[in-house]
Symmetry: C2
Subunit: 521 residues, 2 copies
Amino acid sequence: MNGAEALVRTLLETGVDVCFANPGTSEMHFVAALDRVPGMRCVLGLFEGVVTGAADGYARIAGKPAATLLHLGPGLGNGLANLHNARRAEVPIVNVVGDHASYHLQYDTPLTSDIAGIAATVSHWVHSSAASDELPHDVANAVAAAGEAPGRVATLILPADVSWGECASGPAAAQPLARPRRAHDDAIEACAEALRSGEPAMIVLGGHIRDAEFELGARIAATAGARLAVETFATRLPWGAGTPQCERVTYLAEMAIEQLKNVRRLILVAAREPASFFAYPGVPGRIAHEECEVLVLAEPHQDRVDALERLAGALRLDPVEPPRSEFALPALPDSGALGTAVVGDVIAALLPEHTIVVDEGVTCGMEVFPRTRTARAHQWISQTGGAIGWGLPAAIGAAIAAPDRKVLCLEGDGSAMYTIQALWTMAREQLDVTVVLFANRDYAILQLEYLRVGAAGMGANARSMMHIGTPDIDFVALARSMGVTATRADDAAGFASQFAEAMAARGPRLIEVLMPAFNLG
Amino acid sequence: MNGAEALVRTLLETGVDVCFANPGTSEMHFVAALDRVPGMRCVLGLFEGVVTGAADGYARIAGKPAATLLHLGPGLGNGLANLHNARRAEVPIVNVVGDHASYHLQYDTPLTSDIAGIAATVSHWVHSSAASDELPHDVANAVAAAGEAPGRVATLILPADVSWGECASGPAAAQPLARPRRAHDDAIEACAEALRSGEPAMIVLGGHIRDAEFELGARIAATAGARLAVETFATRLPWGAGTPQCERVTYLAEMAIEQLKNVRRLILVAAREPASFFAYPGVPGRIAHEECEVLVLAEPHQDRVDALERLAGALRLDPVEPPRSEFALPALPDSGALGTAVVGDVIAALLPEHTIVVDEGVTCGMEVFPRTRTARAHQWISQTGGAIGWGLPAAIGAAIAAPDRKVLCLEGDGSAMYTIQALWTMAREQLDVTVVLFANRDYAILQLEYLRVGAAGMGANARSMMHIGTPDIDFVALARSMGVTATRADDAAGFASQFAEAMAARGPRLIEVLMPAFNLG
């Protein structure tokens, strides 16, 4: 068999059986191998940002990496922003990036580029395969590197001649996954002491928050009388009725500082220390009070369940059952205008159990999360790296990872336009994704940020850079042009009935929700 | 004034008065400065690939750089593919990439990334500005670096605090542009000797081919009895009736090898040595015959007009006037099916004088270039780096650089979908661009390449990775959804009448041309 076939077979051996792809000439032998090797689901994206964002969404739900197939440096470049998001989310992805045949690089032909240099900016692991016989081992290494806790971006560069050359060694077996490291005893003891100190304490959970650590963290907080919070943009979070009650660290630094001002012991569990998303003149970057001691119970790469269990033990207190979110659905509106609150209520009222919510709703979507706290139990995945254009692709990946669950994508109009081609893949694969597309026709978040950074006045030029009407984008026509069923809602009752219909049906669907202009007051 | 204002004023001082932008929070002070400083035209793209591709198209026509405004590493990443194309085309661009405030990097917040590392892969010059007072000088340096012959990508990283900090120094003046270097006497003499040798010779012009060097090259070829060619994908080329007759080095290596097999002296004028675009098993990478001597008259960074003049003098022969393309328009079809030839004929017949043709037509567009050889004089700009998704953005830039000229964008459906958001900017700016969108619903070039690389068979999976129908994309609805007038042609007469109407009208317009499936036979 050739290298490409050994590559695909090794991916399957290691449990990687989904490949999001936008191939080019240098990847044709990989593509050909897909027909000789059964078992690899290959999903085409019309742009590489769709491919990498889908791999991110897939891994967050499947709990294992997908492969991507990308075409040389520019293809990787097109996928870079969503690899950045995946890297920040600590999500496992195995990129396979085709390159020219090794002996062809000397000609410096048009597509020659510094693939390794580009890859290094978003990858924990980069390797260019040097020989067809080494390729299976390289692939197994890449998958193992991606699987390192909590999840890594691994990029394997595949020269065309390595791909088409004969591979005598055959596919390689999966390597044993490295177990996450154990947190230090000192860290456990310091956190236990902080919780016993009587000082106001908060436990912040971050990253990929699984049920086990959510439950443990909540029980410890209840037992110790501490507050429980999740970081602003968690990789994945169980949410809705029955989940432990908790706060979320607020996005706006000014408000987060207020939220945390009384906390004197901040305990981080695979979470970064809260910090302002951007710098603003006169606003501190650090959120925690200057007198607050910040303690790390477990780093993201450490075994957080083990650390929490040891912390619970070290407290030596009778465990207290944590308070949970009740089950309560808001009433559906039968009239009235659209706004962030009513949109949140409609979604909370109608969300099916086990829905995966992919949140890139930005300003318009901000009321949905608090309102689905009492909705049917679901999961929430957030935009982790700040590079917009993630939501639609991530929804593709989530839907492929969980074909029996509804995926709801909350998407801003500005964000949607970065990777709008994703709609086509939703249609081709007939994915059960409902996109709620908030159309306020502005980069509203920028209008807010403009004021926050202290930029003076807002003249016609500045306004023009933040306004994405003129012309208005017709998202219904746009979605239909790519084969996605679409409707438009311009009042609360219309949205409620369209959203109900979407939740009852299967298949890709977009609802353009005409939102009022963002109110800066 | 603050740093941002000094930056904008310095750009204007150096002649940079167009900025393609997709800003974020860290760039808000730049945006604010646009309202305080008159004279900078700022054009919003809904995705950074639109921004960088537009800057490329602009510079090719304007003959000077535009600025881009990009948001941190992911924004730069989204623009990377078209910066790759610009770098390969040796086109001047000044990127301004916002970064977090320098003191904020310590918090490693979500958008923190290795901006300099990403920039280095596509830039000749990268600098992160360290202080507001240094910023004007840094900007002048960036513009000077971009202006270095033949044209460079310069990337200035702009920390937010440098942007909003007080700049006591005020704007800087333009630096004198470095003159292109003089080609070596030895090179001139060697080329003269090669042309006098009596061996079959070919002169290949490359890069940005201006009238002066086209004329000089043609006269030398005619005088010495040599063949004249332009490289496959020139940055810019005068074309149509009245231009010197020449060949174009063929894209397909197998055919180019045949084309050049008799050449024994190959003289390169700012052109790279012809090489196969990709490697194929059993096909040489080098195009020239093994007995052909390859000589460089002038490197791209050298003064090619001067070199050609000196070569003409060194020949010591009576100059012969070169043959020119006659003026001859094909007849318009009044019936029949669509195909590459008839599309080429319609375009050749109706193309207005001075049109700028932006060519990303891939397989469907390949017959247009040979057929407009006798059309009204026009200019041709080509996809130089192989990273598709360049055509629509480049057309934006060309139209902004030349508002009084028609821009014709030849675009494949597959290529179009990489940066389809460009249509919105065409509508917003009401640019006089006609997009001929070839819809064959395949990555047809990949079907061809699949065979060329010797990939075996083509099963359902491989076919699916190259087919972009299922569902078909409705480009008419898609264009209209973003405010662009659009029609669909499904036969030759329909295309002829729609294209005639587009050439007679002004403003953005898209014609979806339903092409037959690519014929591999």
